[in-house]
Symmetry: C2
Subunit: 132 residues, 2 copies
DNA sequence: ATTAAATACGACTTTATTAGTCGTATTTAA
DNA sequence: TTAAATACGACTAATAAAGTCGTATTTAAT
């Protein structure tokens, strides 16, 4: 329970790897996959997603790969996780209030508060904090 | 991602329900299941688990049910979740360091820190806070 | 004693989510 | 023209969560 998905893990590993090499350097998927023993295809999809989201910049063709473009100081953990995995909430009703039990639910408010606390915590953390 | 399991939800709903009735009153599974539209059998198993853990006290036979015994002030959210669902960590290596990738992993420490923060947050919250 | 209403609990099935793979297309440097 | 890279949808496999079933036990009420 409460685990990060591999997608998020792999994305963080890759970003940290790229960051340590500097933002001009182009790094390819295979290099990262081998260095950290991650399935290439899966990492590939993850990096493609990061590219679509504008966090890294793709360079196609031979000697291609990705270049880190986003300023990791400006990206917080909540946004990062939601960008990869969609809405992050302890219960669905945090985002979608079509739960049948809502009218009788006696724990919604406290859970919403906890959720806010977690989001707040994650908002305080930039990816730069996590990858340096 | 990051959702509480139903087991935890149902347990919290039940505890809150029982608490609102006072700690001498015996409440049975069916009553709670019907009030909140929860599958009886599943709630039954959950309450049995709470009983095994000493949080509620079973009363067998007709007019039986459960009575709230634990002092909810003394039980924090980390302990409660782990008691129902086992170890709570963003990555398995928080508890079990047999991960093959550990020697190359570049994100372990930051993740451990985040995990500590979440645990810390959850440690501050007693079940009494959540159910009153 | 018998009955019925409750808990106890392991085994099983179903469903949802996550993880990973495959095939094929596109881009581009050499 | 080739080969090394990204792009991406469709598929499959593995894992975890949710829910069901059957059967046993306890005990108050009759």
């Amino acid at each position: 329970m409460f685990k990060l998905t591999r997608k998020v893990e792999y994305a963080l590993i890759a970003l940290r790897h790229m960051q340590s090499k500097g933002s001009e350097v182009v790094t390819n998927t295979k290099e990262i996959a081998e260095a950290y023993d991650i399935p290439v295809q899966l990492l590939a999809k993850t990096l493609q997603q990061l590219a679509r989201e504008g966090i890294i910049d793709p360079v196609q063709g031979p000697h291609g790969g990705y270049r880190l473009t986003a300023n990791l100081e400006d990206l917080n953990l909540t946004d990062f996780i939601e960008l990869l995995e969609g809405p992050m909430g302890l219960m669905d009703c945090y985002f979608d209030s079509r739960c049948e039990q809502l009218r009788v639910c006696n724990i919604r408010l406290p859970i919403v508060k906890i959720n806010d606390s977690i989001r707040n915590l994650f908002n305080q953390m930039s990816l730069a904090d996590l990858t340096k």
